[in-house]
């Protein structure tokens, strides 16, 4: 008799979370509004995004009204619309598969986090906040070496500026204070080695930048402080790598035929 009560109790306990899940699912399946008889579910409102649920619902109602009109006018049979619908559907499917593949990525280990911390001293252990004076020079790529040579001879940024002025070069002076993580990664190793007063000439999208380090304030992050950021970053990177590997794998096993003008060079 006691055994029967025990099993009944266990069954009741097991039913509680299932019941909660069902309640959650039911809430999502509840109807938020009906537009000319077409139901809009709470789930749709929740996934639509927006400042508030009410605003999101109004947007969905507007969209539903327009969609109903388009269907009544037979626009879904228009070749251009049909093609766009198919394109959107495939885009959603592709994204869903990528997300699933990326979800299989392993979490970064403590060793990986530690290694990343030590490999990127300029960002963490030897992080600095850089106060820089800069001359942003609009120049062709060939001028970079000339500018480097001139900066090497000059004792101050003002001398370089005077040299540029004498040659009617187009440039502007700016001052900036930025922490290491906001500077271009490719320049960070060089900037990390610089001492106050040092100058460097770096290529930039505009041409070149002559940078002088005015002051660098030490602002290191301990491994413990940096670990949550590094973990998130490495996790995201693993997801990307896994997803990219999935795309590569699919291409390797697929039969892809390039036609017409797209065959050239393949």
């Amino acid at each position: 008799m006691f055994g029967a009560w025990k099993y009944a109790g266990l069954a009741l306990l097991a039913a509680v979370p299932v019941g909660c899940q069902r309640a959650e699912a039911n809430r999502g399946a509840q109807v938020a509004a009906k537009v000319n008889g077409a139901e809009i579910l709470v789930r749709q409102v929740n996934t639509a995004g927006g400042a508030t649920g009410a605003q999101a619902l109004e947007k969905i109602i507007d969209r539903e009204l327009l969609a109903q009109k388009a269907l009544a006018a037979g626009l879904d049979r228009d070749p251009a619309v049909a093609q766009a619908i198919d394109h959107a559907r495939r885009q959603v499917l592709a994204q869903a598969w990528i997300e699933r593949a990326a979800g299989a990525a392993a979490k970064p280990s403590a060793e990986e986090i530690r290694a990343f911390y030590h490999e990127n001293e300029a960002l963490f252990a030897r992080r600095r906040i850089y106060r820089l004076q800069e001359l942003v020079v609009s120049s062709p790529a060939g001028m970079l070496e000339v500018l480097r040579a001139e900066a090497g001879r000059a004792s101050s940024l003002e001398q370089v500026a005077a040299w540029l002025r004498a040659r009617s070069a187009e440039f502007r002076e700016v001052a900036v204070t930025q922490p290491a993580e906001q500077l271009p990664l490719r320049y960070l190793p060089q900037l990390a080695r610089m001492k106050a007063g040092d100058m460097a000439v770096l290529p930039s999208p505009l041409g070149a930048s002559v940078v002088q380090l005015v002051h660098a304030q030490e602002a290191p992050l301990t491994e413990q402080q940096a670990a949550p950021l590094i973990e998130q970053f490495l996790e995201g990177r693993k997801r990307l790598e896994t997803a990219a590997a999935e795309v590569r794998r699919l291409r390797e096993v697929a039969s892809i035929e390039y036609m017409g003008e797209f065959r050239t060079g393949k």
């Binding site: 900036v176 271009p184 930039s204 999208p205 930048s209 998130q232 990307l240 990219a244």
Partner: protein
Amino acid sequence: MKTLVAIVFALCALPAAASDSFYSSLHAAAPQPSMYSFVDVYQLTVSGAALNNLPALTLNDAPIRVAVAVPAVEPEAAFAIAGVAEPRGWLLLSGLALALWVARRRLGHSF
């Protein structure tokens, strides 16, 4: 912990930080991956923005395999060239006669 909060704040406040500065000048062409800062890379990676562009990002380094060599489709003839008739003897004779007439006319006039 204060520093961690500061760095997280800095990461979140990136768009507002972009001004007329070393950072902004170098990032004038921010879409260039070569100019990304750690904040850029971090945001793209963690937010999943890079994941959304994955097929495009991996397009260049993915191996390309042409499975079947498809023969080029022969274009259909759009028009036909009609056969040209062989020149006949009378055409040659009339040509010679015309040449003689021109020569005689020219010799008859002094320019």
